[in-house]
Point group: C2
Chain length 341, copies 2
Amino acid sequence: MVQRRPAVVYDVARLAGVSHQTVSRVLNDHPSVSQTTRQRVLDAVRQLGYRPNAMARGLAGRRSRIVGVVSFDTLLYGPAATLLGVERAARTAGYGVSIATVERIDRPAVMSATGALAEQSVAGVVVIAPQTAATAALRNMPAGMPAVAVEADTGGAIPTISVNQIAGARMAVEHLLRLGHRTVWHLSGPRDWLETRGRIDGWRAALVAAGSPVPPLMTGDWSARSGHEAGMRLAARGDVTAVFAGNDQMALGMMSAFHERGIRVPDDVSIVGFDDIPEAAYLSPPLTTVRQDFDEVGRRCMAALLRLIEADRLEGPARSAADPVVAPSLVVRHSTAAPAR
Amino acid sequence: MVQRRPAVVYDVARLAGVSHQTVSRVLNDHPSVSQTTRQRVLDAVRQLGYRPNAMARGLAGRRSRIVGVVSFDTLLYGPAATLLGVERAARTAGYGVSIATVERIDRPAVMSATGALAEQSVAGVVVIAPQTAATAALRNMPAGMPAVAVEADTGGAIPTISVNQIAGARMAVEHLLRLGHRTVWHLSGPRDWLETRGRIDGWRAALVAAGSPVPPLMTGDWSARSGHEAGMRLAARGDVTAVFAGNDQMALGMMSAFHERGIRVPDDVSIVGFDDIPEAAYLSPPLTTVRQDFDEVGRRCMAALLRLIEADRLEGPARSAADPVVAPSLVVRHSTAAPAR
DNA sequence: GAGATCGGGGTTACCGTTCACAATGCGATC
DNA sequence: GATCGCATTGTGAACGGTAACCCCGATCTC
């Protein structure tokens, strides 16, 4: 049965023989509704195929059941996977998701994106903006707007969920050192990304802890292209036996460069990546890498955000209960082996 | 200056010394407002930092300035890039974007996703659901909901934007035949994807046109894993000199398999992919592939959708002016060469 | 010069929900 | 037996806009 106009509360109320307010109560799980009335309303809802109008809800209540996600360059695996994770968690919690991508992460861009989302009366925002440039923007979000950030340094201004980059990097480096490599080179991502910082710190800490020399740091831009270039430079040396790349794409480009130069992986040089992109297992050779659980990141973001939203409504203090740091794990494949000697 | 509560039309009206309706007129570019009044209102808007509330707008008018995007739950490059393209185009047009990903593409899932978006009173939806299973869902969208689809076969039910898969596949195959290969094998994506159909058709057509034998079709699932498996099978034969893979990830997995088996690319076997993912240029060897312009796809989707929304408001007929077929282009790199003989 | 037309702008209702508060019924209390 | 308290339900007013309609004064038409 197709209706011209979708049913509204009043239709449901009439059918169930109650007032519109009672319908609203049932819909929002208000405690004081008798069991029989509740059932009658639910039957009417089902019968009419009623779905509450989110706009009206957002207007009447202070907040909608929509969360906003501000994201940067969603073609990168990390941000894309995080977005997907947040979206899944949000929908599970009964929330819709509105997105706003920014071309560059600077304060005006992030402000304008959150502004656009605020205009839609989103209940809160998740900011996936892992560059340090976003920090300034994050520190002064519109007042009263619940927000959480992924991989950000907000100085405690807003809750942050992140993967333990330092631990991940240490795992990668320690794995290589354990195999017998004297030291490990590192090709980092852009210096203004927070992940980059953590991975550099972990890399250096692991080397220092093992008493290994710390080679000069190389910097890429996450792309396979930059990995390729760095690979060419390393190939020109000849004393390199192990490299920890800041992400899988750069590892991939580097392997390609080594291949072109006749350097075998892992026979001549071992390589470890970061992310565990779906292709990592099918490169030649399959890439040893550090896996990040983006779904978990998404879930924790939503959990933290919902807590903020809830606290906001109850005027209570927001305690952050969930552990904001997600542990990565090392996935050992065939791009790493003992040095040739 | 931070205000406790954001300004609303009435605040602007009071400051400008006009009625709230006049403010509304200015905001919606209504013709009958004098130049001086308009300016006064705009000044007040700026001064108060007023931003219209999208919820209220959506409630009052029939439609919001938000478009919904239904996308298949995946981190695949194509859908992700298309989503980004649509999002960019939408924001340029002053629209917000709400997303709803579905785990599986079947009728209930797509219906429920569009339902969730309809609940948010989106002005229209873009469906990125390139499987044939989505067809049924697309044919009976909620009445009156403007919608466009990407890579779908809707039987004319709703406008569709797509990349010319057949032409892309022909370019790939013809390129290989021109190099001197006797025939070209094809590893397709899942059979229930529309892109897969087009690429198979183009592949077969090009072979038939050239009078080349048509090898048995191989089917993968877009993943590097399936490419790897197919590569192993092909390697076992030994009479294969050229393969056209349905996407770059499968091409990647296949190259990896050939590498393991000691088969050189392109010396022993030539490979062409599809998509031109960012990594394609940095594989070993750099991958020859067919590029799709997803940004253009996104732009055309929004253009078509806006036309529908507009027509809907004016009750006029919706003419589709823009060319719904986007041309792909062949990017020749080093994974293809003349056969060894 | 009177009625019609038109540009500009105000009034009021309404969109579909939630919130604040009032009202009702009923058993328990004193 | 009247009062109190609680659980349950109803009533009216927001929420922040847009749409439809009305009104006013000025110009145009004859």
